[in-house]
Symmetry: C2
Subunit: 404 residues, 2 copies
């Protein structure tokens, strides 16, 4: 049984975190420098952006993961350290300063940066605040979650407990979105901690598999970031029998992990830049999971559909249109479409054709802050879900002048 608990990345045994304002961001009220540390070296795994343009921290982080182990995560917001000539050098210095204060070897430190691309990242503010950041390490997942935010309006955090062979185990995570989020290894930064004992190989397998149904199914704007990073540290302090193969414990761990990642996925979608509502697209009756995911992602990405959701307009033609250009071999004349929210269900399309509905009821259903669009392809048994948000004036406002 999976039970939600408090504590974020500090919920699992042996993890501490902190976050401070060091000065990369101009606004002194906004933290911009975060650290997560495990008491002992941990199994580590990661998934990263597939963008050819990769941030320097992504390149270094992948390098540091090659050993399969790591013990700390350091991160700044306000600058992505991407497309800068000295980017790798700066990312290395970030790891080295963690070594200096903590004695954790620099290549056991994972590193991430988020913010504007193509402006030199000044190392000085971090040099000046690394001692403070280290000294503040404690049960402060919240400060770390705040320090990795960019245009996020709320800090995103989750933690769960569950048992493996009678041992209580925990997983905690923090994440930031919320623009440049595309359904293909998405969502900028996600840091996950756990006290489960698992081999690096099985951990990488679990994470790589997990993102397919969680972070890879989130879209805010269809743009794929250069810095997307999802890393996980598992330090084994729960003292469960170490997971070294696909067995019942592996599956239980994967299930708990997916609980956390899906919850964060929804939080990221709901807090999408300028969003007023969470849109969940559920596709049923597909011939394959690939087909279900393809359709769900295409619908959730459609600018026209997203704008209609902002206007609470039941323009289901745009849903069908997006299904049609998804590249998946659906049979249009079988497709059913309906909307659902707390206010009720609204059937709009049956066997590919429109059916009459009350505009008044439609407005009610679509005016809720969480809306499902449910699509039944009726040609198979596979399903998938994707999460996104509406396209609003504020998305345009936020992104019309983000840099200056």
């Amino acid at each position: 049984m999976i039970k939600e608990i408090q504590g974020g990345v500090c919920a699992p045994k042996g993890f501490k975190a902190s976050g401070v304002h060091c000065g990369i961001r101009k606004n002194k009220a906004k933290k911009d420098f975060a650290l997560i540390v495990s008491e002992v070296n941990a199994s580590a795994a990661g998934v990263f952006t597939q963008n050819l343009v990769k941030g320097a921290p992504v390149i270094l982080c992948k390098e540091h993961l090659k050993s399969g182990y790591a013990q700390a995560i350091v991160c700044n917001s306000g600058n992505a350290n991407t497309c800068n000539k000295n980017g790798i050098e700066i990312a290395e210095k970030m790891c080295q300063m963690v070594e200096r204060v903590s004695k954790i070897k620099a290549n056991d430190v994972l590193v991430a940066s988020t913010g504007v691309i193509g402006q030199p990242l000044n190392i000085a503010p971090m040099e000046e605040h690394i001692d403070q950041l280290y000294s503040l390490l404690g049960d402060d997942s919240k400060s770390a979650a705040e320090a990795i935010m960019t245009t996020d309006t709320i800090a995103k955090s989750v933690a769960v407990k569950f048992t493996l062979g009678g041992r209580e185990c925990k997983i905690g995570a923090i994440a930031k979105g919320v623009g440049m989020v595309c359904p293909n290894m998405a969502t900028n930064l996600i840091f996950i901690t756990s006290d489960v004992a698992i081999s690096p190989k099985m951990l990488q397998k679990a994470l790589s598999n997990d993102v397919k149904s969680s972070f890879n199914m989130v879209s805010v704007d269809g743009d794929q970031s250069t810095n997307d990073t999802c890393v996980i540290l598992c330090n084994g302090l729960a003292q469960n029998k170490i997971i070294e193969e696909v067995n019942a414990d592996y599956k239980a761990f994967a299930k708990a992990l997916n609980y956390c990642t899906v919850k964060l996925s929804k939080m990221i979608a709901k807090d999408g830049e300028g969003a007023t509502k969470l849109i969940e697209c559920n596709v049923f009756g597909a011939k394959s999971v690939k087909m279900a995911r393809g359709v769900a992602k295409t619908v959730i990405k459609s600018s026209l559909f997203k704008a209609a959701m902002f206007g609470a307009d039941a323009n289901w033609g745009r849903v069908l249109c997006a299904i049609g250009y998804s590249g998946e071999e659906v049979e249009v004349e079988r497709v059913d479409v309906s909307f659902k929210s707390k206010a009720g269900v609204l059937e709009v399309c049956k066997d590919g054709y429109g059916i009459e509905f009350s505009e008044e009821h439609a407005k009610k259903v679509l005016s809720e802050d969480e809306v499902q669009v449910n699509i039944n392809l009726k040609i198979g048994k596979c399903k998938a879900s994707a999460w996104g948000c509406d396209l609003t004036y504020d998305y345009v406002k936020i992104n019309g002048d983000y840099r200056t």
Copy 2:
């Protein structure tokens, strides 16, 4: 030599057009029913949406093109006649009513509809106004162009003259955009007329080839319409030697055609829903035309880049980011990026890294109503251009409640 002239689709010999308000649209000031007729049967060709969900008129229009000949184009706006159970029947009736008034055989009539998807199209307003529409046929390209508009703010039209073997030849065209425009057989409706003599086979070849560098390179929102239709009628009244193979005349015709289609492409992009400016993305130094087109289309589609252009923000990191997820095998550390407008040139990225620039100069360059983003990949000799627009508050407003 290609020279622009007046007259739109009525510029070529033997073509007449008309447009009226028949009542499909509620607003009586908006025309919604258009007709284009050639004096004699004409070689005909078309390219259509690749969306699996196809409007009934698209299905019927393709059927009527199978003979390679046609003599009229009938079109309504205000309703796309798509995802309706009786859609084909209604589209057939539209062709039959043209036969009734004109004696042109119904299967020589091309048909198109544009507007909302999934609401039954009432044939009665058209039945009541077909006599009037036919009686008004004349040099009235403008009324036809107006009658096919949906959210377009201006009627789009172009015409040119040129010579083939000493004979004066003409091409004319009208088009409508301006939402649901994706770089993959785009742009809803384009009707082209010409008095050139050319075989149906060569005409289809010319048109299919043309759209790759014109309408397929336009993006407003990345959504691909169910009703995209581009058809051309060539009635041969210019009495040039009929084009039946790829020769000098074919190339001269193709060049004149491309002049018209690129001009319309830019007009459609500039009038994109809510747009305040035309963005032209030119990619140079690609290894293949495919690579150049792939990069240009990805950049022009990026919501984040489009929002930055609205804010006149030289956020070139978003350009590099989009290049990186284009799926094309560029070498990031070679890429140069600059912006250009009437106000001057702004170099922002050299060999994949940022270079310093004046923010004041940047604002000036990006505040013009036509802005180029020029990308040199520096790994080959191929190039391509794509056209789009900025993402604005008004795009969201227009699409937040289009249907009701």
